[in-house]
């Protein structure tokens, strides 16, 4: 079979199956699946989705713990021209219902226990993994196991690289999470670019420790698929499980966020006694590793031959820059938070407030140009126009034909072209590698019915990025134990990283001149004790 040009996710699968159908694609617990299994079962699930009425451009939600079925679901939706929407498995019902409504999910593929928590008719049809769900979360139900074993597609849908491939939900500095609409071309370009600079091969054994709803987590799957490597699914984030997985599977490649490395370092003694000699590289994303942890990681891993990549990316353009292992010394307390240079086939511009290219050493906004620039935010034209703008450095003859992404991050470039992250001006909170807007936290707390006003913000804490702090006033004055009840409501109705580390009670919240809650004032008053 001749290899196909790489236009869509399914082309990547097709080529890998053609090269080596019996190679192990995915290891989920004790179960191993080959690329041929992936081809056959994604065709069967694709046929079942089509049977349930899913057509080109429709959205298919995947609300599963990381599993074989979650991997098959992405390919199944793709090959019938639908877009998959990976839902954070830590989400509780309110977040899932918001997301299902926001992008109008037609079919939700989910774990039974998760589906049962949802409001009636959250989706038309649900595909369940487990026993048949009780309750009316969906109008009708289909058993995933039966769908995977069913007859495959008669023929593949004609899917184009311009079709919507997936929607990646991410938080910004304001409002509720936004769906970054990512085309098939974006997904494929991301896989090509990342597998190029990480030099992935079929011999790689890639540990999937990040959630699949996170762009870098999905990228591990797409890069693995493209080169025909083996993906090992890890659900636990406890250090013992991480260490055992790295050893037992002789993992060559791992990508994670800073808190994961803090856990890995906890196993320092064990790693020194028994070094991770198979680990070819470790790639970090989702924030800066505290310097002490980076030094210790280098000390633990580099002698055994592991290379450390520091990556920077924003979901709006998938991945943006990386600092090569040979240059890692450039990220230091003296030199600053070096995020390296542009990923292949990509241009990173530093644009001043006047819209000009910044000189070396001059701060400006990081602006991303290249094939991973996504299509925009689903159903949010205003936000799309703000972040996805015409290329500011385009020649006058080509004005307004190409969109680039304005990141909101302030950076500067040194004389050698290396980029340094300086900070953000807005109120976005980064906790444990997750982005959060203050409103999401505030809405969660207000949902308890006990809270009159809420103000959330982030406070720097190198171990986690930022701690989430909330200052609230109560509806019925200061009731005994009310703060505990608010906290308990939040824990039951939100993912762990959205729960404030501290909830501070005030009689009233200070307002700005225009009568809005003064988040800046409250946040600096908190930080100054």
């Amino acid at each position: 079979m001749r290899p196909r040009p790489e236009f869509t996710l399914h082309d990547l699968l097709y080529n890998t199956v053609a090269r080596d159908p019996h190679h192990t694609a995915v290891v989920d617990g004790d179960a191993k699946y080959t690329y041929e299994d992936l081809e056959r079962q994604s065709a069967s699930l694709g046929a079942a989705l089509a049977e349930a009425g899913v057509g080109r451009g429709d959205r298919v939600g995947v609300y599963l713990e990381k599993s074989w079925e979650a991997i098959v679901a992405m390919l199944a939706a793709s090959r019938i021209g639908a877009a998959y929407v990976n839902v954070n498995p830590l989400f509780k019902a309110p977040q899932v219902e918001y997301l299902a409504g926001d992008c109008d999910i037609k079919v939700m593929i989910g774990d039974t226990q998760k589906l049962e928590e949802l409001q009636p008719k959250t989706v038309q049809t649900a595909f369940y993994k487990g026993a048949k769900p009780e309750g009316p979360a969906a109008g009708s139900y289909v058993d995933v196991a039966e769908a995977l074993a069913g007859e495959g597609l008669k023929e593949d849908t004609n899917v184009s690289e311009s079709d919507l491939g997936t929607i990646l939900y991410t938080s910004g500095s304001t409002g509720m999470p936004k769906g970054v609409s990512t085309s098939q071309r974006n997904v494929v370009a991301g896989a090509q670019i990342v597998s190029t600079y990480l030099e992935n091969t079929p011999e790689d054994r890639i540990l999937s420790a990040l959630p699949l709803n996170f762009d870098a987590g999905m990228s591990q799957f797409t890069t693995s698929l493209r080169v025909g490597a083996t993906l090992y699914l890890l659900r636990s984030r406890l250090p013992g499980d991480l260490l055992k997985a790295l050893r037992r599977h002789e993992i060559t490649s791992v990508t994670g966020v800073p808190p994961l490395w803090a856990l890995l370092i906890r196993g320092a003694r064990s790693i020194r006694e028994n070094p991770l000699t198979h680990l070819r590289y470790l790639a970090n994303t989702g924030g800066r590793i505290p310097q002490a942890n980076l030094d210790e990681l280098r000390d633990l891993l580099e002698p055994a031959g592991t290379r450390i990549f520091l990556m920077y990316g924003l979901t709006e353009a998938f991945r943006s820059t990386y600092l090569a292992p040979e240059e890692i010394h450039r990220s230091s307390p003296e030199q600053g938070n070096c995020i390296g240079k542009a990923i292949p086939n990509t241009e990173i511009m530093v644009i001043t407030k006047e819209g000009k290219e910044a000189a070396p050493g001059e701060p400006g906004e990081l602006v991303h140009r290249g094939p991973t620039v996504a299509m925009g935010y689903w159903g949010n034209e205003e936000a799309t126009r703000k972040a996805y703008r015409p290329n500011p450095l385009a020649p006058p003859e080509l004005l307004d034909v190409e969109r680039v992404v304005y990141s909101g991050d302030t950076v500067e470039r040194d004389a050698e072209g290396y980029l340094y992250f300086l900070g953000r001006e807005d109120a976005m909170i980064k906790n444990q590698g997750y982005r959060l807007s203050p409103e999401e936290v505030e809405n969660l707390l207000l949902g308890s019915g006990l809270v009159h006003e809420a103000c959330a913000f982030g406070v720097e804490n190198p171990a986690v990025g930022q701690d989430v702090i909330a200052v609230i006033s109560l509806r019925n004055g200061s009731e005994e134990g009310a703060v505990d009840r608010v906290r308990e409501y939040a824990i039951n109705n939100g993912p762990p990283y959205m729960i404030p580390k501290e909830i501070v009670l005030r009689d009233v919240l200070p307002k700005t001149g225009s009568g809005k809650i003064d988040r800046k004032g409250i946040s600096s008053a908190y930080s100054n004790g």
Binding site: L238, P239, L243, S270, V483, D484, E488, P496
Partner: protein, 83 residues
């Protein structure tokens, strides 16, 4: 100092109430990891607490979901070390 025999469960539940659940008591067999009661960072804090309180050392490889999945499991690990 908390003695280890039988008090481990109460001490762990007390710590969870104070540091994780906002006052709600946790059942001994309630899953702590699967449904996201505790974040991985909180489990690290819990291990520090257990090591200090019971004067034990949790080995790197023991720090996994099998041993930290419920109050019962954690207490079993603690008691196996304290004897």
């Amino acid at each position: 100092m908390v003695s280890s025999n039988g008090d481990a469960k109460a001490a762990i539940r007390g710590w969870l109430q104070e540091n994780v659940t906002g006052g709600r008591d946790v059942a001994n067999d309630e899953p702590l990891i699967d449904n996201g009661v505790m974040t991985s960072l909180q489990t690290v804090e819990l291990v520090v607490f257990l090591e200090d309180t019971f004067e034990i050392v949790v080995e790197d490889e023991e720090f996994d979901e099998e041993n930290f999945g419920s109050v019962e499991a954690i207490a079993r690990l603690v008691e196996s070390k304290a004897t």
